[in-house]
Symmetry: C3
Subunit: 213 residues, 3 copies
C-alpha cells in the first residue's frame, strides 16, 4: 500500500468513526428527551449507531456484524453514550442540535456508501443494492425512534434525508457500471449524499405534503 | 406443463399480485393518516406488502427474499405507493376502505398458504409451519402499524383475522397429512382463510373481550 | 450421567420453564392492560417468553430456534396465555404483580446465563458474549413493550434490571477464564443476576436520573 493510499484509508476510517459517533449522540439525545435511564440511553445510542448496518447484515445474511468483529468500537460507543449522558446532564443542549447535523450528514453519506458497496460487491440486483445503501444510512435513526415510541422522523420530517441517500446511491450505480477505478463511485456517492443533505438543510427545503384537506 | 396447469399457475400469480397490492395500499393509507411524507408512505407500503414474508424468511433463514429475486415487483410496489399517494391526495378516500377488504382477505389467504407451504416443505414441525403461515399472512400489517406508532390492529381489533389464517392453516395441515394431490391442501387453505375472513366481516362477528370490569 | 448430575439437569430445566412461564405471564398482562384481543395476548406472551432468545439467535445466526426444536413448549406457552387471559378476566390481578417479580428475576438470571454460555461457547469476543447474555435475558420484555406501543420499561424504569444481568455476565466472564468446572460460572452468573435483582427490588434501589432541569 502506497503512502497516499494509506493516508486515504486512515482518513476514511476516521470519517466513519465521526459519523458513527454523531449517530450515537443522536440516539443518546432521543433517549434523554424521553427521560430514559442509563440502559435506555446506551441502547438508543447503540441502535442509532449500529442499527442500520446490523439490519442490512440481517437482511443480506452477513456475519459477523461490524460491532462483533470490532468489539473495541462497541465498547467505545457505549463509553461515549455514558459520557454524553453525563455531559448533557450538566449542560444545556439546545445549542448543540444544529452542530450535530454536519457529522450526521457525513454519517449518512458514509454509511450509505459502505452499505451499497457491500451489497453491490455481493452481486445483488441494482434496485436491491440501492435500497440496502439507503437502509444502512437511515434505519439506525428509524430503530432509535421506534424504541423511543415515536413515528420515525425519517418518515414524517418532510425534509430530504432518505432521498439524499437515494440520490447518492443512484449516482454510485451509474458510475459503477462504467469502467472507472473503484474509488470514483465510492467518493461520488458519499459527496452526493452528504452534499445534498447539507444543501437542503441550508436552503431549508421541504418535500411537498400529501395531507388531504 | 399442460395448458390447464399453465392457466392455473398464471391465475395464482395474478391473484398474489392483487393481494400484495392490496396490502401495499393498506400501508400507504396508514402512512397518510399519520401525515407521513413520501418516504414514510413508501416504507409503510413496502412493509405491509413484503414485511410478513420477509420476517418469515428471516425466521427460517431463507435467502434471497422474494423482493430480492424479483426486483421488478419491488419497483412496481414502490411505483404503486407513489401513485396511490398522489391519487389519495386528490380524492376523498373514505369510500375506499371497504373496497380494500376483499383483496386484503385474498392477500391474507394466499400469503398464509404460500408461507405455510414453504415451511411445511422444509420439514418444520406442524405447529411451527402453521405459525409461519399465520405470520406470513398477518405480520406485514403488524410491522406497518408498529412503524405508524400504533398498537397493531391485528392485536386489538377483536375481529377474526389471524384466527382465519390459523383455521386455514389447520385445514392445510390436516389435508397435507393425507395422500392427496399437492393442490388440494393449498386451495383448501386459501379458500378457508379468505372465506372465513369475508364471512366474519359480512356478519360483523367479534371475538369476546378480555377486559376486566 | 450420574444420578446427582441427572437431578441437577432436571432442576435446571424445571427452573427454566418457571422463568419462561413468568415472562409469558408478563406479556399476557401487558396485552390485557392495552385491551388487546386473544391474538394480541398470545403474541405478547410469546414475544415476552421467547423474544429475547429468538433475537439473540437471529443476531448470532443460529437455527433452529428453541421453540422450533421444542414445539411442545411453544404449544404449552400458547395454552398458558389463553388460560391466563381467562383467569385474569375472572379475578382481580392487582395483587399478583409482586408475586411475579420472583419468577421473573429467576427467568432473567437463567436466560442471561444460557444466552451468554451459548455465545461464549461459540467463541465470540467477551464484550459481545456479555451483550448477548443481557439481550437474551431482557429483550423479550423490550419486544413486548414495543408491540404494546410503550417505551420499553427496561429503558426508563430506573430500577436495575439489565444492569443485574450485566453484573452476572461479568461474573461469568471472569470465572470462565479461570480453569474451573463448567457449572461454576453458570451457577455464579444465575445467582449473581437473580440475587442482585431481588435485593435491589427489596431495597427499592433506583438508578440516578439524567433529567436536566
Amino acid at each position: 500500500m502506497s503512502n497516499i493510499e494509506s493516508i486515504r484509508q486512515h482518513t476514511l476510517v476516521a470519517l466513519e468513526y465521526v459519523g458513527t459517533a454523531a449517530f450515537a449522540v443522536s440516539g443518546v439525545w432521543g433517549a434523554i428527551r424521553k427521560r430514559m435511564d442509563i440502559v435506555g440511553i446506551c441502547v438508543c445510542g447503540f441502535l442509532a449507531a449500529f442499527g442500520g448496518g446490523t439490519l442490512r447484515d440481517v437482511l443480506i445474511d452477513r456475519r459477523p456484524f461490524f460491532w462483533v468483529e470490532h468489539q473495541e468500537v462497541l465498547l467505545g460507543i457505549l463509553l461515549l453514550c455514558v459520557a454524553c449522558a453525563t455531559f448533557f446532564k450538566q449542560h444545556h443542549l439546545e445549542s448543540s442540535e444544529k452542530l450535530l447535523s454536519i457529522p450526521d450528514a457525513l454519517g449518512l453519506g458514509l454509511f450509505c456508501t459502505t452499505g451499497l458497496h457491500l451489497s453491490w460487491s455481493m452481486g445483488q440486483p441494482p434496485a436491491v443494492a440501492i435500497m440496502m445503501g439507503v437502509i444502512t444510512g437511515t434505519f439506525g435513526g428509524v430503530l432509535r425512534d421506534m424504541v423511543c415510541n415515536e413515528i420515525p422522523s425519517l418518515f414524517r420530517d418532510h425534509r430530504p434525508y432518505a432521498l439524499c441517500a437515494l440520490l447518492g446511491a443512484i449516482v454510485y450505480a451509474l458510475l459503477a457500471s462504467l469502467e472507472l477505478p473503484e474509488w470514483v463511485p465510492l467518493a461520488a456517492c458519499t459527496i452526493a449524499t452528504t452534499g445534498t443533505r447539507l444543501v437542503t438543510l441550508w436552503l431549508d427545503l421541504k418535500l411537498p405534503s400529501v395531507d388531504f384537506e
